[in-house]
């Protein structure tokens, strides 16, 4: 029953009145509001009853007394604080600097170099830097010398976190109806560059100024990837990317193919091992995203020598395990866990094995999933904004899945293993929501520690994996 304007001067609705009663009893209402409320109360039985209820409730709330601090609360707290202070003085700050992005940064560079290299002839990587300064036309004409490009293709991780080499690229590229790449003989795609010469540049950014800072993260091939598309992809890398911040972009081509349709049995055969020991249904998110194929240039034998040429390696930070692994020509691009088959006969069996073994992580050395493991004390948390704990069946695979997701979805994510079961993710503030949503909603992670008073532009999330 409403009593609007029942009395002269009463402009208050019951809802408003009942909302204001709390403040009225707190005596925080303005004089004007008090007058209005009292006017309404005088003419409204419902609101008078409400006033009595709230008075009663407030009275009961008043009965709740403040808890006294337990004995020795302050003394214990000070003890803990002093211990904390000592600990903090001991720890050398762990660099949350750009340095920690080293491998990520160079992975893009490596990808770019390889793609560029693949379209150039084998011996001219050293000249590549000069060529980078040349304009687009020159670069295109240089590519005319190229006779053949070889690509390897990999599927995005499936639910089990495995990647597969797509052996018959032609089939996938040209007839997207097929989803079973295993039945066909491996065959490198041969792109005859001469075919592409008469075609004008197909992408806008080919005409863009030379100092264009970024390259497209992915190019949707829409199920119609053709040889000329691939040539265009190669062309698409702006000449200046080596100096710019664009290195962090990885080249990938999205093809709308659902890896989940691939029969598990076929996957297991292909992999040569069972993959059923791990089930994370929560990873539907990954499943639902379109399969991404990474083009790994198949580097010919002459490649390995030029690839580790001085011009390239000299840019690596010294003493970095990454550069060492490049020199040993076994470096695997982090996001692509199939080795570049420089000596195909030796490595072929290797690539069929799961890339990361538990002992590799435990010894704290570099792992094949492209993460440099550094041992950091367990209590070293001062740089952490969130500690997320995730229960998983298989830590290695979970690491791979999480890493792949973050690397692909959050371009500037910096992902490192800092302990055998702890991953440190550094992202930009703007990606916080997406990242946390993935970790908490997607993976069922739980935030066990958080410091929200972070004024930095970067967010540091530590992920602690527990085996179920």
């Amino acid at each position: 029953m409403r009593h609007i304007q029942q009395r002269k001067g009463d402009f208050m609705k019951c809802e408003e009145c009942q909302e204001a009663i709390w403040d009225y009893l707190d005596e925080t209402l303005s004089e004007e509001d008090v007058l209005q409320l009292e006017t309404h109360l005088n003419g409204c039985g419902d609101c008078q009853a409400e006033l009595q209820d709230i008075k009663h409730i407030k009275g009961s709330i008043q009965q709740i007394q403040q808890k006294e601090l337990p004995q020795d609360y302050h003394a214990n707290l000070m003890k803990r604080l002093e211990a904390e202070q000592e600990e903090a003085n001991k720890i050398v700050p762990f660099g949350r600097t750009k340095k920690s992005k080293t491998w990520l940064r160079y992975s893009g560079l490596v990808a770019a170099a390889l793609v560029l290299f693949a379209v150039g002839t084998g011996e001219d990587l050293l000249h590549l830097k000069k060529d980078l300064d040349a304009d687009v036309k020159q670069q295109t004409s240089q590519q005319q010398e190229t006779e053949e490009i070889s690509f390897y293709m990999e599927t995005a991780p499936n639910t089990e976190g495995e990647r597969f080499v797509v052996e018959d690229l032609n089939q996938l590229s040209f007839t997207m109806d097929s989803v079973e790449p295993t039945n066909n003989v491996a065959e490198d795609i041969a792109v005859d560059m001469e075919q592409t010469i008469p075609e004008p540049p197909q992408f806008e950014y080919l005409q863009a100024p030379l100092n264009m800072p970024t390259i497209p993260q992915s190019i949707s091939a829409g199920g119609n990837a053709s040889a000329s598309d691939m040539a265009s992809i190669s062309n698409a890398i702006p000449p200046t990317m080596e100096q710019s911040g664009a290195e962090e972009h990885l080249m990938s081509v999205e093809i709308g193919l659902d890896s989940s349709t691939q029969p598990i049995q076929a996957q297991e055969e292909h992999l040569g091992m069972p993959i059923t020991d791990y089930s994370m249904e929560e990873h539907e998110m990954i499943l639902n995203t379109p399969t991404t194929y990474h083009f790994v240039p198949h580097v010919e034998e002459t490649a390995s020598d030029s690839f580790v040429s001085d011009s390239f390696v000299s840019e690596q930070p010294q003493g970095n395990s990454l550069s060492e692994s490049i020199e040993s020509s076994e470096y695997v691009m982090p996001i692509l866990d199939t080795p570049i088959p420089t000596q195909a006969s030796e490595q072929e069996t290797d690539s069929m094995q799961p890339r990361m073994m538990m002992n590799e992580i435990e010894t704290g050395i570099e792992t094949d999933f492209g993460v440099v493991v550094a041992e950091i004390p367990a209590n070293h948390l001062e740089k952490m904004d969130y500690l997320v704990e995730i229960d998983v069946a298989n830590i290695e695979k979970a690491c791979l899945i999480v890493q792949d997701y973050l690397m692909e979805e959050i371009p500037y994510a910096d992902v490192n293993m800092i302990e055998t079961r702890k991953m440190r993710v550094i992202i930009e503030e703007k990606d916080r929501t997406q990242c946390m949503k993935y970790l908490l909603d997607g993976l069922g992670g739980i935030v066990t520690q958080s410091l929200l008073e972070d004024t930095d532009e970067e967010i540091c999330i530590d992920i602690l994996f527990h085996t179920i």
Binding site: I57, S60, Q63, I64, E68, E453
Partner: protein
């Protein structure tokens, strides 16, 4: 009963903040000593048991010490500490919810047990004491049926007596949003309390 709240940054506190930021433990101690009870009480009401309140509230001060240098002084120190407390409690509650080992009934039993020990006062007759306890646990039971967000604002407003402005700063929302959230929370609380009273025939 309400905590006396520091509304203005007095000069002394500013000095302590300055020194505490440089890692001076003595200044930090001075800064927190007046906030200990308040933080403990918020944690107690949020977590609804003494053990968690003790752990969490001390953790809050350790976090605050670690993060002291990042305290930007846009809000008052007490608001900042409240914010850390509320966040820590909500995180902990969500964590438990996720693990599903959080039983409201169990916690409530513990709460009542604690009350019996804590509120026996010399001036009250046993009957009065029991009645008072009952009333309190009714309110607290109702409070525990609320969502984390509603529980938070009710604790801050009705139990700790923070102003709307202070609550807005603490939970990081606009004044308007906070007002409407408090209003909804009050309606829920009232409904729950009346339900309980109806059941217990007051």
């Amino acid at each position: 009963m309400n905590q006396k709240h520091i509304k203005e940054k007095n000069i002394e506190e500013l000095k302590w903040i300055e020194k505490a930021k440089l890692g001076d433990m003595e200044s930090f101690e001075k800064l927190i000593v007046s906030h200990e009870k308040m933080v403990y009480n918020v944690a107690y009401r949020m977590m609804n048991n003494q053990e968690d309140a003790l752990d969490l509230s001390q953790e809050v001060f350790i976090k605050a010490f670690r993060k002291m240098k990042d305290f930007n002084e846009k809000s008052s120190f007490s608001t900042w500490i409240y914010r850390i407390t509320v966040n820590a409690c909500i995180d902990e509650m969500r964590k438990r919810k996720g693990k599903q080992n959080f039983s409201i009934d169990q916690v409530l039993e513990g709460e009542n047990g604690n009350y019996e020990q804590q509120f026996v006062s010399k001036e009250e007759t046993p009957e009065e004491t029991i009645l008072k306890q009952e009333k309190q646990s009714e309110i607290l039971n109702a409070l525990n049926t609320l969502s984390e967000e509603h529980k938070t604002v009710i604790i801050l407003r009705e139990l700790q007596g923070l102003s709307y402005e202070e609550i807005a700063e603490t939970v990081g929302m606009t004044l308007g949003t906070v007002k409407s959230r408090i209003s909804r929370a009050r309606i829920h609380l009232k409904t729950e309390i009346l339900k309980i009273w109806e059941r217990n025939k007051h």
